[in-house]
C-alpha cells in the first residue's frame, strides 16, 4: 500500500506492506530506533507513540489500520511538551535502565497535551500503560510534576 503519513512533522509517502507493524515501520524502515519494545503485545507500553494525538502501543497496529494523512509523534520528534519532559527526566534521574523511558516519556507527553493540570491520581492513570521495572515510578512522577509547573 502507499502510505502518506506525517512523522515528527515530516511528510512521508512510500510503499509499505499493509501487514507491517507501525513499530517496525518506525524502527526498521525509517530507522527511528528511539521507540523501544518489550513484549510485542500491548502489555508493557515500551513501544508507545502518539498517533493522531492519542497515545498507542505501536506493536499492535498494522499500517493498514492507519488512516491516510495521519500524524505520528515519536521520541525523536520536536514538541514543546516532549522536550520539556525529556529535560525533567534527566534532571530528576527518572531514567534508569532506559528500556521503558521513551515509551514513558511519550505517555507523559500525551497526558500533558490533553491536560497540563492533571493531579497525582490522573498522572497514575495516564502512565499506567507503561511498565517500569527500575524506578518505582517515583522519580517519574517528580519529573512530570516539575514539567507541569513550567507549562
Amino acid at each position: 500500500m502507499n502510505v502518506k503519513i506525517t512523522i515528527n512533522g515530516k511528510l512521508i509517502t512510500r510503499e509499505v506492506p499493509e501487514n507491517r507493524r507501525l513499530l517496525d515501520f518506525l524502527r526498521e524502515d525509517l530507522g527511528l530506533k528511539g521507540t523501544k519494545y518489550g513484549c510485542d503485545q500491548g502489555e508493557c507500553g515500551a513501544c508507545s507513540i502518539i498517533l493522531n494525538n492519542k497515545i498507542v502501543t505501536s506493536c499492535i497496529i498494522l499500517m493498514a489500520q492507519i488512516p491516510q494523512n495521519s500524524t505520528v509523534l515519536t521520541i525523536e520528534g520536536t514538541d514543546h511538551v516532549l522536550q520539556l519532559i525529556q529535560e525533567k527526566f534527566k534532571e530528576f534521574g527518572a531514567a534508569q535502565c532506559g528500556a521503558c523511558t521513551t515509551g514513558m516519556i511519550m505517555a507523559a507527553t500525551s497526558l500533558l497535551h490533553l491536560d497540563p493540570k492533571v493531579n497525582q491520581k490522573e498522572i497514575e492513570d495516564g502512565l499506567c500503560g507503561v511498565l517500569c521495572r527500575c524506578t518505582g515510578y517515583t522519580k517519574i512522577y517528580d519529573a512530570v510534576k516539575e514539567a507541569q509547573k513550567q507549562l
Partner: protein, 288 residues
C-alpha cells in the same frame, strides 16, 4: 511479524461484498488489540494467519447516536470515544465504569466496543453491563440486516452466532429511565489486567423504595459466557427490599454461580465474591 493478507474496503457495501465472497476465510479487523495478539500467539484458527478484513477505512462505521429509546454505537467506536461521550455518560454510566478500567489508555485508544463484544471473552469488561441492558447486536449481510439479543449472539468463549457472510454493524443499547446502574470488577492488578470476577446491576426501585420493580444482574468470568443471575433476580423482584433480603440474595447468587479455577483465580474464591459484590451494590442502593 505478521504475514496476513489484508483487504481494506472503503465502504460498508464493499466490506459486505468481500465478506460474502470470502465467508469463513476472512476475519474482521477493528482496533486489532485482540486480533493481533491472537495471531501473534497462534491461538486456534488465528495461528494460520487468516486474511483480515480491515474495517478502519470506513469512516461511516464510527458513530454514537441517541434515538428515542436506544443508544446506537458503530463498530469503529473506541473505548476512549465512549468514555468521552456525553450520551454514554448520561445514559449508560455503568458502561463508563467498566470501560475506564480496560487495559490502559493505549489499549482504550485502539480497542473498540464491537471488538470487545465479538471477541466474546467471558472476562470482557463491557459485556456484563450490555447483558444487564438486554443489548442487541445488529448483524448485516449483503442483502439482510437483523438485530440479535446479545445473549443469543454470544454462544461460548470466543464464539459468536453470526452468518458466515455477516458483519456486526451496530450495537444497540436500550435506554433505561430511572434505573440505578453499577459495575464492579475484581482483578489482580488495577491496570492492564483481566477480570477475576465482575458484576453489573441495573435496578429500578418502586416509587416508595420498598421493592425492586426490576433488577438485572449479570456476572462475568464465572461461566463460559456472561450469565444473568436469574434466580437471584426473581428473588429480589418478588420480595420486599430489605437488609434481610440482601443477605438472602447474597447466598442465592453464590449458589447460582458456577465458576472454574484457572490461572487468574480459583473457583471457591470466585463463587464467594459474587455474593460480596452483589451485597455491596444492593446495600448502596438501599442506603441511597
Amino acid at each position: 511479524m505478521y504475514s496476513n493478507e489484508i483487504l481494506s474496503p472503503t465502504s460498508l457495501k464493499e466490506a459486505l461484498a468481500i465478506k460474502d465472497q470470502y465467508v469463513n476465510d476472512i476475519f474482521p479487523l477493528a482496533g486489532g488489540t485482540d486480533v493481533l495478539v491472537m495471531v501473534r500467539n497462534k491461538l486456534g484458527v488465528w495461528g494460520e494467519s487468516p486474511v483480515l478484513l480491515n474495517l478502519n477505512n470506513i469512516p461511516k462505521l464510527n458513530f454514537i447516536l441517541e434515538t428515542d429509546s436506544n443508544i446506537e454505537i458503530g463498530p469503529l467506536v473506541t473505548h476512549t470515544q465512549l468514555l468521552e461521550s456525553p450520551i454514554i455518560q448520561k445514559h449508560v454510566p455503568a458502561l463508563i465504569k467498566a470501560i475506564s478500567i480496560i487495559g490502559s489508555p493505549q489499549i482504550r485508544n485502539l480497542g473498540t466496543l464491537t471488538g470487545n463484544v465479538c471477541r466474546a471473552s467471558p472476562a470482557a469488561d463491557t459485556l456484563a453491563t450490555l447483558y444487564a441492558r438486554d443489548t442487541q447486536v445488529q448483524i448485516q449481510t449483503v442483502n439482510n440486516s437483523k438485530l440479535v439479543p446479545i445473549k443469543e449472539f454470544i454462544t461460548g468463549p470466543g464464539q459468536i452466532n453470526i452468518p458466515e457472510n455477516g458483519l456486526v454493524t451496530k450495537i444497540v443499547i436500550p435506554k433505561l429511565e430511572g434505573y440505578f446502574g453499577d459495575y464492579i470488577s475484581l482483578r489482580q492488578r488495577y491496570a492492564l489486567s483481566i477480570v477475576v470476577v465482575s458484576i453489573a446491576v441495573e435496578a429500578l426501585l418502586s416509587k416508595d423504595r420498598s421493592r425492586m420493580d426490576d433488577i438485572r444482574i449479570s456476572l462475568g468470568a464465572v461461566a463460559p459466557t456472561i450469565v444473568r443471575a436469574t434466580k437471584t433476580e426473581i428473588l429480589l423482584k418478588s420480595n420486599a427490599f430489605t437488609k434481610n433480603l440482601i443477605e438472602k440474595a447474597e447466598k442465592m447468587i453464590i449458589e447460582e454461580s458456577r465458576p472454574i479455577t484457572d490461572i487468574r483465580s480459583n473457583k471457591r474464591y470466585r463463587k464467594a465474591m459474587t455474593g460480596v459484590l452483589l451485597g455491596r451494590i444492593l446495600r448502596e442502593i438501599l442506603s441511597h
